[in-house]
């Protein structure tokens, strides 16, 4: 069972536990990214994590909790790093850059995880869904605030829609990005910033 509350002294045993746990999460990310949540079987996740089938159920109550842990961890990290970046940005343009760079950089370093987060949101239900939704809404609020600053006093730009469109551009990347053709992240970021900054600040 995942324990997100207590943090006992990091004994060797605990370190082993957490290693296994993140190995399972990594295996789940790769498997679900390739086969989809419904298509990915717990058996294949276990095989990739080099653990028995029932071993998975020692760390997670069920398959859905596995997906939840993956999304919750990935999204939380994404929000955290964005907040750090935003704290050291001053102008609206710098803040927009923080948003875009943060998303792209995290993306290239966690291809499978982010693909799962983007593609399998609706595979969660009930409490799991609500909790992830909350984190995503927090992320969205951060971005919307930045966009409002970029827009300034200009009329004709709806920050809500602009943020949604920007999210689309960012989240769509996993559909076409090929890590083997190591496209320069700097170029990606520059292009997207150019379009959205100019697009929202033009008279």
């Amino acid at each position: 069972m995942v324990n997100t509350q207590t943090k006992p002294a990091p004994t060797r045993r605990n370190r082993q536990y957490e290693k296994r746990l993140s190995a399972i999460l990594k295996a789940a990310a790769k498997t679900i990214a390739r086969e989809g949540y419904e298509g990915a079987s717990v058996r294949r996740v276990a095989a990739r994590a080099k653990i028995g089938l029932s071993g998975i159920y020692y760390y997670f109550h069920n398959k859905e909790e596995l997906l939840f842990a993956l999304q919750e961890h990935t999204f939380s990290t994404l929000v955290e790093t964005l907040q750090e970046r935003l704290a050291s940005a001053e102008t609206p343009e710098e803040k927009l850059r923080a948003v875009i760079d943060n998303h792209f950089e995290y993306f290239v370093n966690n291809l499978d995880e982010l693909k799962v987060c983007v593609h399998e949101i609706e595979s969660l239900s009930g409490h799991y869904y609500k909790q992830v939704l909350k984190i995503r809404q927090g992320y969205f609020a951060l971005v919307k605030k930045v966009i409002r600053e970029v827009r300034g006093r200009r009329t004709g730009i709806d920050p809500n829609l602009a943020a949604l469109f920007l999210f689309g551009s960012l989240n769509w990347v996993y559909m076409w990005y090929d890590p083997r053709k190591n496209t320069e992240m700097k170029k990606l970021s520059k292009q997207l910033r150019r379009i959205y900054f100019n697009g929202m600040t033009a008279p």
Copy 2:
């Protein structure tokens, strides 16, 4: 079995056949949109289409062919209507508008189908995948050409990336659009055009 070659006289029987067929496609679109391709069972598709389970296999060889027929029909129509719109557009701005309006209008009238097309591309394999990929590449080429015209002789804008970003914004809509809160399509289109047109034509 789907027959896309011969087109015999539209007897009453044939009309019944095609009615059933599109009823199945509609049921499949709704079911797959809600449950995902792997999650949607042929049994539930059949139930929604008011036909027996084995009845599906009279019209389609297997489940994947059902998904293929859905995507092939939807995407082909999308490309066709875009070509018509582009033919009657003159300036680059009008053409960009054609792209965006076409996508949005088709989207609101075919919510389930477009969601499946966007979300289940990778659920196809082999020949099915290649064939749909071809259509999508044709669509992409059309849009890229328009973007090249909008850009004109300006440097610093990569039409390829710009097209991909635009596709992201367009395809992401299914994640947040709520038909019950009938958001005005005109506003959506206007906002997106404003961002991308200004974004690509600014000095």
